[in-house]
Subunit: 313 residues, 2 copies
Amino acid sequence: MKKYGFGVDIGGTTCKLGLFETTGTLLEKWEIPTDTSNEGKNILSDIAKSLKEKMEEQIIQEEDIEGIGIGLPGPVRRDGVVPTCVNLGWKNRNVGKEMEALMDGIKVKAANDANVAALGEMWQGGGRGCKNMVMVTLGTGVGCGIIIDGEIVPGSNGAGGEIGHITVNPHETIPCNCGRKGCLEQYASATGIARIAREHLAQKHESSLLEEIGEVSAKAVFDVYKDGDETAESIVEEFASILGNALSNLACVLDPEVFVIGGGVSKAGKPLLDAVEKYYRQAAFSSCDSIRFALASLGNDAGMYGCVRLILE
Amino acid sequence: MKKYGFGVDIGGTTCKLGLFETTGTLLEKWEIPTDTSNEGKNILSDIAKSLKEKMEEQIIQEEDIEGIGIGLPGPVRRDGVVPTCVNLGWKNRNVGKEMEALMDGIKVKAANDANVAALGEMWQGGGRGCKNMVMVTLGTGVGCGIIIDGEIVPGSNGAGGEIGHITVNPHETIPCNCGRKGCLEQYASATGIARIAREHLAQKHESSLLEEIGEVSAKAVFDVYKDGDETAESIVEEFASILGNALSNLACVLDPEVFVIGGGVSKAGKPLLDAVEKYYRQAAFSSCDSIRFALASLGNDAGMYGCVRLILE
């Protein structure tokens, strides 16, 4: 194994770049803007230029680099082809091959950003020591990365781990962004929790600390939940029941060692984890009793970590 | 690759043994009784004796055998250890190692029977040509084997693919064999379909061909369904809606290339497949539109095929 690796997490606005030791230590991280003009044709060359400057600055030779891992916000096929990536303007690009050419033959691998984040958490984060893991990212939507025997499950259409679109409520009348109704994402994302909160506030007659905060957000709900507010409690119970039950179904399918919960909503920490786990335990199939719950620990760096892990295979 | 392989599918009553060419051709199959007395201590030696006799009879040398694959009715850990197998009376047996010793060092691999059946269908059956597949076995219960990138997903507790215990109806009052309520198995197994049928018959006032048959079974339901009986139609629609919706949720998780439907109930053939697929298509997440449905085609031999595929890895 060579000494260094680069992790490159491409987002729609900025690219996060990291220089790592292949043992798992992040040595340095920096960002460059993502230039999405002209169908994103400069993105890879901008990244290559920045990586080469870093190699020069740190006096690192090509032969000391194990490879470059790339995460990007769209589906990536097993052969490295990105059929389409709306946020970057890409269509039918072989990211691996193109980047290898730009980096003078250094090995490059690419994968979906939610999946590399899961791989990063398995390697150096909340799922450390596990090879079978489901990472659930509670952000604007509900993302998920599935790792089986140390490998990402991308799915045959790039839809592996799209658990945000599991139907959890067939009676829902409001449509999800995907056009269907009753998706997990409509209840367990930041947006979903805020919606549940507004519904509870509209129905309740008692006053709630939540009303005093003004804008009803997932963060606000968990803030007053920790203070023991009853309305917040009923909101969190509804959210946790839906997510805990969905994960108990997922356990019957994948039987992972651990569920790692990440994303902005997970900043609520242990009270959130405890609430979800309570409902999971009530619902779980007996063989899946021992599955653990953990919080993600790498924050926004998880993707970069996972990119480096990707090239170590 | 050597020329021959043995597939051994151990059941609670009989062991199915098959001599295969490693290209995938079943040359000969036979059965021996499973001796479960004395905590099943003779099972492996009985099998070894039978395999050696076959080698002698067919004049096959050890060096022409790639290996022996074993399927058994219980969880098998990745290291080949069977923690417990109630039907065989086994506890903490390393089946791979024990069998290798009995067979003079020929390579042996073991896995759960539902999982090897899925592997068999992927290799030479309904999922031929695919590497990402979910096989659903509709029998007394609902079994499932998940294959990702050509490999079985056993789960960290051997509960990978236990989709029969996904909760599909949180309002169910009758308990499942697992002790929980509303499991997929309670509606989509042979037993489940018969139960739905009895409920429909009790509620209906019109006469049904089904009543004339006497014993209400899944087979009887599909027989009169094909004849256009209205009560059977409503029963099949209920079954197909529950299974089709559950598979649409599974698609958001695993995104396989194909769902292969097997087991006794699947003998109803294309009318069953069409009914399930109709509800799947109505519910599916758009990225998973292209997932195909196929009938299993190897019947009771699927396990033996999968055992041989197991040793080719």
